[in-house]
């Protein structure tokens, strides 16, 4: 299990390659990558991500451990950036390896749902008009109910 909270960029494909290479005996590997997307009407200059150093790593570790108790997993990787990102940059990724595809998919979705609402990150959108904290959505909170 590897968890990295970092301000620098990561190479999603290189991380996926290394993760897959280490996943001996696993039949299924799922990756998710989140990318900074422009606003629907355009105009996003940057996304700034604030976090709670110390708690962030602990919270993600707890979420990943929980995933390991719920599904038969070989390995888990979580990388999440903080700081200033521009549209098109990769914010975060998760990867899961499991003997069977159902477990790999479920764990990856579980990790994403929990990272969205239970890891201490806060996003702020920067446009020409100013800065705006992104609101948590009811849909993201509701997504936790299914687990």
């Amino acid at each position: 299990m590897r968890i990295s909270v970092q301000d620098g960029a990561f190479d999603f494909a290189a991380q996926a390659r290394a993760f897959a290479a280490d996943a001996a005996g696993m039949g299924a590997i799922v990756t998710f990558t989140g990318v900074v997307r422009d606003l629907d009407g355009g105009g996003l200059e940057a996304m700034e991500i604030e976090h709670y150093p110390g708690m962030t790593e602990k919270a993600i570790s707890a979420i990943a451990q929980e995933a390991r108790t719920r599904w038969a997993l070989g390995d888990v990787l979580v990388i999440h950036r903080h700081g200033r990102l521009v549209p098109g940059e990769q914010i975060m990724m998760v990867a899961t390896a499991a003997p069977h595809r159902g477990d790999a998919f479920a764990a990856a979705e579980f990790l994403m749902d929990y990272l969205k609402s239970r890891a201490p990150f806060w996003k702020r959108e920067i446009t020409a008009a100013g800065a705006h904290w992104v609101d948590a959505t009811d849909a993201d909170e509701a997504a936790l109910k299914r687990w």
């Binding site: 709670y52 708690m55 990272l115 609402s117 996003k123």
Partner: protein
């Protein structure tokens, strides 16, 4: 006790953290003390439903006891991922 603020809570209060002395028994008691201090605290803590709290870096409730706690953080609902 170290008190930390994140995101717009930090912006409203104007500092990312501060050390305070408190006899409050619970998080809610601490919030009452802070609200009484200055308008910027009253503004930040106006709607507890819009806030989350962590005690020693674990998510908690506003009625959680403060005994033995060294670090309390207040922030809006998280938006990671």
């Amino acid at each position: 006790m170290d008190i930390l603020y994140f995101a717009w809570v930090r912006e409203r209060i104007g500092v990312p953290s501060e050390r305070i002395e408190t006899d409050a028994a619970t998080v809610a008691g601490l919030v009452e003390e802070l609200r009484a201090r200055e308008d910027r605290y009253a503004a930040a803590f106006a709607d507890l439903g819009a806030l989350r709290v962590a005690l020693d870096q674990e998510l908690g409730d506003f009625d959680a006891p403060l005994a033995g706690v060294r670090e309390v953080a207040f922030f809006p609902p998280m938006t990671g991922g």
